[in-house]
Amino acid sequence: MKAKIAAAPYLVWMVLFILVPLGVVVYFAFTTADGAFTLDNITEFAAYLPVFVRSLLFAVAATVICLVIAYPFSFMLSRMRLNHQRTVQMLVMLPMWMNFLLRTYAWMTLLENNGLINKFLALFGLGPLQMINTGGAVVLGMVYNYLPYMILPLYTVMVKIDQSVVEAAQDLGCNTLQMTAKVLMPLSVPGIVAGITMVFVPSVSTFIISRMLGGGNNLMMGDLIEMQFLGNSLNYNLGSAMSLVLMVVVLICMSITHVLGNEDVEEVM
């Protein structure tokens, strides 16, 4: 009984800040401005399909790049000496102490047509390269901002994998690639799933990064939704419908990832 009482504040919190807002979003999504029931908001979504597809593509690209960078990095980190591990971990976390907007502004000044990188290239008679306002810049921004969220869960899982298990695999005839595929991957599935979730979800719904680094041509779903609430196209009902669809798609993606992850684990067990 005591446990239940202790959980009460959390329950109130959940209802107030998760269930109620969700209910409001659903309500707005299925009503007109006058409050009458309608499905128009949802069907109107079809017009924004290209933006939606772009959001998914960018988010998938960012997630894959994060995974490719973070996986070997986390493994090496987990095999370092403990005091080195702490230092590198700190270096990974350090940028997160800085404001998200500031970090993204910093990338703007780096990538601009007369920004630092292009100036540097000009010294060698190269460029200028068009980097800002491209899809690549948006993906770069997402990778940069969300990489720690991939590294940390992977590291947490890998640090628990005993070095002798890795050595046993090598001893039994695995080269590095085989060892990764047959031992490391199966044992780090929980970290992979967590990392993908933590990078994909914020990536697919971001609006600051795409606005600052992507210019006007790389709008993502987050940008569209923001416009419905704060921008000049003020339309709460459409914005809610978009949010709802995005949420459902993310939920589907996540359940697929989790099922795949679990199946993997069960299959090899």
């Binding site: 050595e167 046993a168 695999a169 001893d171 039994l172 005839g173 047959k182 044992l187 090899v268």
Partner: protein, 349 residues
């Protein structure tokens, strides 16, 4: 026991961050032998094993396997397999798949894998456990899986890194017998690392006693126990009384304040030596008949024998005797010439 050298280490030097672990170790290991590296922790025995397995590349020196230089070969290309201290089983695989791991990598036909894995699981006494999850097994069972997983690849040499360290005493004894049986059945060279001298004496054909990165003595268990080459070996292999002595001439040594007849010769005149007497080799007699007399400080019952501490002229002797004396009693001690082991005094290295 054949005399074909299967593994040969030449002047192996290993250091970690400037701390020298192996200062230049050379050793030949013969085919089909049960060899044990014995020594206290930090003596370099595990390091030597890891050099053979390929997990540590020596700073200098060479490793030869069947006459071929394998110093720079990665572990997965070596015809040796390892049984790790903490088993290191793959937690995501069941018993069958753990054992089959190496064979699957060799891409053998499924049928052959099945029959080899099953017969190996039977050999280690785990028949019926094929589908079991390794994480739910006892330490002894996990160790059997680890042994099967290594042996199924039919390595020429099996490396065992304190594989029984985590098991309780009774299980350890069982597994010692089991390992010896498996080694004799398969005819594979076993290189076994342990700090437990009894384990080493029980199982080995050859014992390599190590300390501080140096080999102190190589020999059969009997040699090592009965003819230790220095006081370190004597002290490490079972309890010993180690005293300073002077070798007056052949067959005459002085220690503990009197001269004794012994069977050793070939030392320099008046050479300072270490004298080793095993606790069970001292005969307890009435004080008046003893070559030495001492006062019993303590008596502890050890099952087969009593362990007594006896003070004599400032030295505390350890004596194993089947008959207990009373603490405070004055007793006599006799030591026969055969029981006195004399060795050159060891330089501190």
């Amino acid at each position: 026991m054949s005399n074909n050298t299967i593994i040969s280490l030449k002047d192996i030097v290993v250091d970690f961050d400037g701390e020298v672990i192996l200062p230049g170790l050379s050793l030949d290991i013969h085919d089909k032998e049960f060899v044990t590296f014995l020594g206290p922790s930090g003596c370099g025995k595990t390091t030597t094993l890891r050099v053979i397995a390929g997990f540590i590349e020596p700073k200098s020196g060479s490793v030869f396997f069947d006459g071929k230089d394998i110093t720079h070969l990665p572990p997965y290309k070596r015809a040796v397999n390892t049984v790790f201290q903490k088993y290191a089983l793959f937690p995501h695989l069941n018993v069958f798949e753990n054992v089959a791991f190496g064979l699957r990598l060799q891409k053998l036909p499924e049928l052959e894998i099945r029959s080899r894995v099953l017969s190996m699981i039977e050999l280690v006494g785990l028949k019926g456990f094929e589908r079991r999850n390794t994480t739910s097994m006892s330490g002894g069972q996990q160790q059997r899986v680890a042994i099967a997983r290594a042996l199924v690849n039919q390595p020429k040499v099996l490396l065992l890194d304190e594989p029984l360290g985590a098991l309780d005493l009774k299980l350890r004894k069982e597994m010692q017998t089991e390992l010896k049986r498996i080694q004799q059945t398969t005819g594979i060279t076993f290189i076994y690392v342990t700090h437990d001298q009894e384990e080493a004496l029980t199982m080995s054909d050859t014992v390599v006693v190590m300390s501080k990165g140096y080999i102190q003595q190589i020999g059969t268990p009997e040699d090592i126990y009965n003819e230790p080459t220095n006081s370190f070996v004597a002290d490490f292999i079972g309890e010993s009384n180690i005293l300073d002595g002077i070798m007056h001439r052949d067959f005459v040594v002085e220690f503990a304040g009197r001269e004794f007849t012994c069977v050793d010769r070939g030392f320099d005149k008046q050479e300072l030596v270490n004298v080793v007497v095993r606790p069970e080799d001292i005969e307890v007699v009435p004080a008046i008949q003893g070559q030495l007399t001492g006062v019993v400080k303590s008596v502890v019952f050890k099952g087969v024998h009593f362990e007594m501490r006896v003070e004599q002229a400032g030295y505390e002797w350890i004596i194993h005797s089947t008959r207990a004396s009373q603490p405070g009693e004055l007793i006599g001690m006799n030591i026969g010439p055969e029981e006195i082991h004399i060795m050159h005094r060891m330089e501190e290295n």
